[in-house]
Amino acid sequence: MDVVQLQRQLVDYRASLYHEAFLDEQFTQLQELQDENNPDFVVEVVSLFFEDSERLLNELTKALEQQSIDFKRLDAHVHQLKGSSSSIGAQRVQKVCIAFRNDCEEQNVEGCLKCLQQVKHEYSLVKTKLETMFKLEQQILAAGGSVPM
C-alpha cells in the first residue's frame, strides 16, 4: 500500500474513533501537544495509561472478590481510572467509570460487578483501537511519509 493510501486510511480510522466516541477532544489536545521536543508524547502518555489501567483493573477485580468489599477503596480506584481515561480522551471508559462510581456509592455489588465487566470491555476495545492507530502511523513513517494531523 502506498503512503497516500495509508494516510487516508489513518485519517478515516481516526475519524471513526471520534465518531464512535472512543476518543474525544482531550485526545486531540494530546496530539497537539506533541512536537519536535517530544515527538513520541502521545505514545508515551497512552502507554502510561495502559499500564495504569491494567494495574487498576487488577485491583478492582481483587477488591470485588473479597468477602467483605471495601467500597471506599473500590471507589478510589475507579476515581483514578476515571481521571486518567478522561485526561487522554478515552470517553467510553470514562463514561462507564461514572456509572461505576455511582454503584460504589450505593454499595451495589451487582452493579459494581457489571460495571467492572463493562469497563474491562471498553478498555480492551480502546486499547486495540489505539494500537491499531499507532501501527498505521508507524507504517506511514516507515514508508517515508508524514503522519497527517
Binding site: E25, Q26, Q29, L30, E32, L33, N38, F41, E44, V45, L48, F49, E51, D52, A76, H79, Q80, K82, G83, S84, S86, S87, I88, G89
Partner: protein, 179 residues
C-alpha cells in the same frame, strides 16, 4: 496611611474644596512580564506572562501528571512535578522556595491538596507561592473551601490548554495587583 485630609470652607460654612494626601510606600514589584492586553488571545503560547514561570505540579496520577506538565510547558512554564502531597511540601521547603505557583490535585491519597494548601498558608506564607487547585469536581462547595483555605484559583479537570492559560493569567494578574 500617614496622610492628611482637609477641607477649605466657603463663607457660608459649607465645603468649597477638599484635599486628600496619602503617603504610599514604594515596594518592590513582582518581576512578571505582562503583555499590554489582559485578554486571552487564541495563541496562549505566545504570551510572555508564562515564560520562565516556576511551577510545582503535584498529582498522584501518572497520566494526568504527564499531560498537565506538557500543557504547562507548552505555555512556557518551567515545571517540577511530584506525585504526592508530602513530596510537594518537601519541594517547597521551609525557607524561600523557587516556585511562584503550586498546582495541586485536590484528591491525593495520604495528604490531599487541601491539607497541603493549609500547611503552606499556615507555615510558609499567606500569599506566596500562589496555589491553584485542580479537581474533577464541579461542586461549588469544593471551590468555596479552596478559597477559604487561601488558594488563589481552581482548574477543572480534564484540563484544557486554554483553561489553564486563562486561570493562571487571572491568578497572576490578581497577585500583581495586590502587591
Amino acid at each position: 496611611m500617614h496622610g492628611n485630609i482637609w477641607v477649605v470652607q466657603n463663607p457660608q460654612g459649607s465645603a468649597q474644596s477638599m484635599a486628600l494626601v496619602i503617603r504610599f510606600q514604594v515596594r518592590p514589584s513582582i518581576t512578571i512580564t505582562m503583555t499590554e492586553s489582559g485578554e486571552s488571545s487564541d495563541q496562549p503560547r505566545s504570551n510572555s506572562l508564562f515564560r520562565g514561570l516556576q511551577v510545582l505540579l503535584a498529582d498522584d496520577d501518572d497520566v494526568n501528571r504527564a499531560v498537565t506538565r506538557k500543557l504547562l510547558e507548552k505555555l512556557g512554564c518551567t515545571v517540577s512535578a511530584v506525585s504526592s502531597g508530602f513530596e510537594c511540601l518537601s519541594a517547597i521547603g521551609p525557607a524561600s522556595s523557587p516556585f511562584q505557583i503550586v498546582i495541586l490535585e485536590l484528591q491525593m491519597p495520604e495528604l490531599d491538596g487541601f491539607e497541603v494548601a493549609i500547611r503552606i498558608r499556615k507555615y510558609r506564607s499567606r500569599s506566596w507561592p500562589l496555589i491553584v487547585a485542580m479537581t474533577a469536581s464541579g461542586d461549588e462547595d469544593v471551590w468555596k473551601k479552596c478559597s477559604q483555605i487561601g488558594m488563589n484559583g481552581v482548574i477543572r479537570k480534564p484540563v484544557l490548554l486554554q483553561e489553564i492559560a486563562i486561570e493562571l493569567r487571572k491568578v497572576l494578574v490578581q497577585a500583581n495587583k495586590v502587591v
